[in-house]
């Protein structure tokens, strides 16, 4: 087990290093460049000489490999460089924008899990065949809805038509209801699909018939035997969905005009602010790797057969 853990952590570190390197290369061969965008503006009246000085002060005139070495060193010490556009350290803008995004994604994934569970159980416990069929088709619909359009549609219905919630700029939990729902619905769909499929699959296994033959009720068997066995595949999918969650948060923040990492990213893209973009990408990769490492370590707890065997990420 320890050996497995070390191997997995080693793999994770390699993936993170590769992610850093790839984004570094990607963002440093950019045709545009944030310094030019900001300082070449004629209104500022800066000559080429002065721009070169500014470039030197940001350290972007040094050879690429030096910059790379420097960047990796500062990343490890938590210094993500300077946001050229905003003129503040990247770590500062991230610290300022992280909390709202964490709230949004945290609540969003929680709601997504709840929706997925409700769908999965309703799909096998509803008393009527037509209701089960209806519930089963819900995820297919949810997964086909563009997040941004869902947000707009919800605003149209709940704010303009029904006037239940304020449109934009609402404070506190009331302002979070629509964004969290918008984020959760498309995320819940693949989770629900995999859960329903896994439950269907497990339900046909002979040990379920044996449990029924003991005299256990349908609901008892579903909860005590089927669900436990259907959970691992759903957990794996949940880990992979982390990326979708971050992407969804970016869109949701845009639609609802919320502050957060999403807004920060968009500004960075518009201004080709490489430092910010790279910090966001690498931090997302760290999040992804940590979440999936957690998922992998959780698997042996759910399935004793894996407790001693080796498992590879994939």
């Amino acid at each position: 087990m320890t050996r497995y853990l070390i191997e997995r952590i080693g793999q994770a570190v390699i993936v993170l290093w590769a992610a850093f390197t790839v984004t570094f290369i990607l963002l440093h061969v950019l045709p545009g460049d944030a310094i030019l965008i900001k300082f070449q503006n004629p209104d500022l009246g800066l000559g080429p000489q002065q721009i070169a000085e500014i470039r030197a002060s940001y350290g972007v005139d040094r050879p690429l490999w030096l910059q790379y070495g420097h960047a990796i060193g500062s990343f490890l010490s938590g210094d993500f460089g300077y946001s050229i556009q905003a003129g503040v350290p990247v770590s500062e803008s991230i610290r300022a924008n992280l909390p709202p995004t964490l709230w949004l994604t945290g609540l969003g994934s929680l709601l997504a899990a709840v929706i997925a569970m409700i769908i999965a159980f309703a799909a096998s416990l509803s008393p009527f065949a037509w209701l089960r069929a209806l519930v089963r088709s819900a995820p297919a619909l949810f997964v086909s809805i563009p997040t941004f359009w869902l947000g707009i549609a919800l605003i149209q219905i709940f704010s303009f038509r029904l006037r239940l919630l304020p449109v934009i700029g609402a404070e506190g939990w009331r302002g979070l209801i629509l964004p969290v729902t918008t984020l959760a619905i498309p995320i819940s769909a693949p989770l629900a699909q995999i859960l329903v499929r896994a439950i269907d699959d497990v339900a046909t296994r002979p040990f379920v018939a044996v449990a029924r033959a003991k005299g256990a009720t349908h609901a008892w068997v579903l909860w005590r035997h089927v669900f436990r066995n259907a959970l691992p595949p759903a957990l794996t999918v949940a880990g992979v969905l982390f990326g979708e969650l971050l992407g969804g948060a970016l869109i949701t923040e845009t639609v609802f005009g919320l502050n957060g990492i999403g807004r920060l990213t968009q500004d960075a893209v518009n201004n080709q602010d490489a430092a910010v973009l790279q910090a966001v990408a690498v931090l997302s990769a760290v999040g992804f790797v940590v979440v999936n490492l957690g998922v992998d370590l959780l698997h042996p707890l759910l399935d004793p057969r894996l407790a001693r065997k080796e498992r590879v990420l994939s």
């Binding site: 002979p206 005299g215 349908h218 436990r228 399935d303 004793p304």
Partner: protein, 562 residues
Amino acid sequence: MTVPPLLDIDNLVISYDDHGRRRAVVHGVTFAIKAGEVVAVVGESGSGKTTTAQSIIGLLPENGRIDGGAIRLNGTDISGWPQRRFDGLRGVGISLVPQDPGVSLNPVRTIGSQVGEILKIHAARGTPRRAIHSRVIELLDRVGLNHPEMRAGQYPHELSGGMKQRVLIAIAIALRPQLIIADEPTSALDVTVQKRILDLIDDLRAEYGTAVLLVTHDLGIAAERADRVVIVKDGRIEEQGPAAELLAHPRSDYAIQLLSNVPSLARSTPRQTITPIDGTVGGQDAVVVEGLTHVFAGRHLAGPRSPVIDSLSFRIPTGTTHALVGESGSGKTTTIRAIVGLLKPTGGRVLVDGHDVATLRGEALRRFRRTIQLVYQNPFSSLDPRQSIGRMIEEPLLNFEPVAREERARRAETILERVHLPRTILDRRPRALSGGQRQRVAIARALILDPRILILDEAVSALDVTAQAQILALLDELQRDLDLTYLFVSHDLAVVRQISDTVSVLRHGVLMESGPTETIFTHPTSDYTRDLIDAIPGRRPASPISSNRYPTPQILQEASFS
């Protein structure tokens, strides 16, 4: 006053919903089980035997429905009961021993919790955990598991197949039901384990006076274990009666045919041997295996690595059949893979037609493969699901010197005729074929290159007895016509006796004994071989029904249910 039988199935009709159409699969089945009696329902695939058993315990698949007739338990018709009512009956009045113990226990729960579950479901509220636990240990001990305390804390994957089946039996007898339905309880187990499990079921029903409905495809098991036998085919009863009587004097055509097809029951007519002159004529050996040893490399798990095969030697004279017999883990599969050159053994050598297989590489190995072909156990996985039968049979011809398209088609048709398949199946895909037909296709594909040697890896064990008998007859015919040499790998001694000239018995990679078939069967020298022969079902006469063998009916009344 007449006491009704424990279970009375009366003109039962069951159908399945097939995309909106109903198809009957059980057509008016009628039989009864008395208290304490063992009744075997015997049939091949699609006979409706499992469906009938499922309906008794109320566990038909969702698209299954009872369309008519009655299932009376102690005189009460339970066929129309809703699931809720069945919940109180299952486990208490009727219980189940399932087919494949490997997949019949929940992999993520401990043995103890799964045995305890049945007690918990039906226990009065507030039954202390300790009482349930001690009863679990008692049950595990009763079904012959060693260290029951430790076993209770283990997970299913830590137990062998036989041990798992014992656990499932412990669950089935936990509440002393009046009837146990055993659905092919041993077909997934090794023969020696199979015998021990059947003995256990016998003991328990004698002790508890439980009736057993034994569902099986194996007439040998039915003959040996049942008081009465019901033979079903295509959802109808062909014949039923006391086991001894039915087996001695079958009346229906189907029963007569079935009896003659079961190798273990067939009068032992020793095969007309193609007479290997007691194995020393070196030049005439098609296959020579000398000191074959194999140790699997890799897997950095601690612990000593024991070889899968340990200095195995045997030879197969040209034109004869040699059988390699052993249970799972005996090294049979590794041996044949070494013989066809799919695996390089770590020691020893294999000569096929005088060539040392291990020295062949690349092109030479590819050419060598013409002489020796393999037929796999499972005809469902050995045929590419996306290819037509015609293409599949022709394919080997594409690998060697070019053969014109018409010539290929002609040869494929000839071979098809040889294996007695109609020409019309050339365009079909494997999924349109039955198991027996698929195995014929696999044989045809193996034969098209005119090989000298055919390796049959459990080639008939996945088939129904009727199909099995037909394939065995076909193999015999092909051997005589084409002068083929067979290496027949099997766990089924009864089949081996029917088809082979010489036998090698393998256990844990070690050769136990080797020699002419009849000698081995009549005078086995190793204890293991003797065990294997004893375990062949149907060798002992069916037990006569003797009611005094069972305890008094009071015990039966104890287990009451709502």
